[in-house]
């Protein structure tokens, strides 16, 4: 039972991270029907930027909590700028061309960013100052580390903010309108280019937050760390119904749980396979996902 509870705690933590990454996929897909292959790279860039900023700030003698808070904010801003630049260069000029060329352009951008990170930051893992968040609560044999609590709290806060932004503000309304019909929303005076740019920025900011948390959780970051979580988060977005924000959160949690429980009870070598199998099974049996609305066949 203890083992089960421990896995549950780990699953929720990992699921929260996947949910944050998945939101970027789902928002971008919802608005321009493109799988942003470079999204995993925003996550990796966030991981790196986080360790760079946090270790700089803590070297200046700031308190750990302030360091993490400021680091989180600055990193999210940085990745948002990066994502807007990528969108401007690689996606915007191709908006009217075939889907294949946009996808390939995104793939090229992903490889470019990954290697850019490698060249500027080196090929070796970069260690996180995990001593900042060391320790945790003990409930019997179940350990809940402070980091896991931070992750869950920050994830929840970000998700609530995003929900408020999308469903309660004018900008959110404009985003939803653009996602539904670009031409009509442009006719009523919504600048769709700006909205698309903003969507990329928000998605990348969330991915950057996830990158920092993964860095703290596992203790280090690597330039190629964006690839596999990227696919898993995509699986989460598809599972929840692509284009659906609540779905992406639920899907992320499910994928995180499945991965942790599969690794704990079935086989840790094949833990990555389960997310792929879920992805394929969902696309085969229910391409709209568990919470998705009907998609027309151009999307599937």
């Amino acid at each position: 039972m203890d083992y089960f509870l421990q896995q549950l705690v780990n699953g929720i933590t990992l699921g929260g991270v996947y949910a944050l990454i998945a939101l970027g996929y789902t928002m971008v897909y919802g608005i321009i029907q493109l799988i942003n292959f470079a999204h995993g790279e925003f996550f990796a860039a966030g991981g790196y930027m986080g360790v760079i900023i946090i270790s700089y700030l803590s070297a200046q003698g700031m308190s750990p909590v302030l360091c993490i808070a400021l680091g989180l904010g600055l990193t999210m801003g940085y990745c948002a700028l990066l994502a807007m630049a990528v969108e401007k260069v690689a996606y915007k000029p191709l908006r009217s061309s075939s889907r294949l060329s946009v996808l390939l352009s995104a793939l090229g951008m992903s490889i470019f960013l990954q290697n850019g990170l490698m060249l500027t930051q080196g090929v070796y893992d970069k260690a996180y100052p995990t001593e900042m968040t060391a320790g945790g609560f003990h409930f019997g044999n179940v350990v809940v580390s402070y980091m896991q609590i931070y992750i869950v709290l920050i994830t929840a806060a970000l998700l609530i903010c995003l929900n408020l932004l999308v469903f309660k503000t004018r900008i959110g309304k404009a985003m939803r309108a653009t996602a539904q019909d670009k031409v009509m929303s442009a006719l009523v005076g919504i600048n769709s280019n700006k909205i698309i740019s903003l969507t990329f920025a928000i998605g990348a900011g969330l991915a950057a937050a996830a990158g920092i948390m993964v860095g703290f959780y596992y203790g280090s970051v690597n330039y190629s760390m964006g690839f596999v979580p990227g696919i898993k988060a995509f699986a989460a977005a598809v599972l929840g119904g692509i284009g659906n924000i609540t779905g992406a959160m639920v899907g992320g949690l499910i994928i995180g749980m499945v991965e942790i429980f599969a690794a704990g009870y079935l086989s840790s070598e094949y833990k990555d396979v389960f997310a792929f199998i879920i992805l394929i099974a969902v696309l085969y049996f229910r391409p709209t996902g568990i919470m998705g609305e009907n998609v027309d066949d151009t999307r599937v």
């Binding site: 990170l117 060249l119 696919i231 199998i277 151009t298």
Partner: protein, 406 residues
Amino acid sequence: MIHEFKKRWVSFGIGLIWLFVILWPLLGIKPEGLEFGTTFALWGRLAVAALCIMIVYELNVRGVFDGAKKAGSAITGSTRKAYAAIPQWLLLLILLALALVFPSMTGRYGHDVACNVLIYVCLGLGLNIVVGLAGLLDLGYIAFYGVGAYTYALLSIHYQLSFWMSLPIAGCLAAIAGCIIGYPTLRMRGDYLAIVTLGFGEIVRLILNNWMELTNGPNGLSGIKRPGVYWLDMTNGWTLEHFWVKKVWMYYYVILFIAICTIIAVYRLNYSRIGRAWEAIREDETAAELMGVNTFLLKLLAYASGAVFAGFAGAFFASRMRFVSPESFTFLESAMVLAMVVLGGMGSIPGVILGALALIALPEVFREFDLYRMLVFGGVMTVMMLVRPKGLWPAKRVGRRSEEMD
């Protein structure tokens, strides 16, 4: 005119500022303190390069190069005419002769590179069927290459089967793998298909990595036999002598043979009824189905036949390296093969060959910039899509179509 001019240079300036903002945190923030020197050095170089490009572009817009362009187009026009005058079979013959005498012109290193190029030509042509002809974006293509390589490796180690016996088996198993991957993905299109094939490719790699009993996991399999060849032996009369392919140039001839077979097969497929049907599916699947094309079977066939060539190339790769490990079959290899097809021109056979040559041989020439290889490669992929989405050598379309008629 002035408005356009201003717009270009303003966005150029904003782009440079943006670039600095993105570069500086990566290079300049250190725990010891903030630093601007290295960032400015790099940024300055990039800015100068971008400025040069902008100036050339500006001059081009203003028509400074019009005279040179006219002369250039006249020259290309006349060479094209001269080229068209030479019969096609003669050109092919010359190319074939060049390929045959190539080993005598270079050393072991050259043979090595040539072998690699030809392996990727086979892979590229196989993927070309799936992506270029049928329009199904497959990001897990390298899995079939892996299946082929492991098939030959296992057959050779456990059953001592010869290379030429294993080659069709490797092809068949790769085709079966293609069908297994193809079947559940048949209902999907575009982006979903890309992600699912990517997932399948990763699953195959993970299985190769973790199934210790069969594949020896990350340590790989070694002790794979070389291919054997029968050759005329004239020391005592005319007899056939069996010997093992040892030198790299002999490997070169083996892969050249496989590559030429692949080229002929893909060419024939391209201009067959099946090839037309694939193109129809690529252009508009619903319309193709309405016209009586069996899209289900043909898409499966596209996967299977694409996989066959990857299986052949994989078997050769295993015999060439005499060692296989899961590391050779990562996603990046898939992206590489895809980039060849895209760079060369989707659906075009000479284009794919050109793409393989560009992506394998050029990095060898610029060996000292090896570190930047993948960076440039990713950048080129994006830039290609922006400026020349049809590729270096676009495919010629058969027949006339309605938009060209009037």
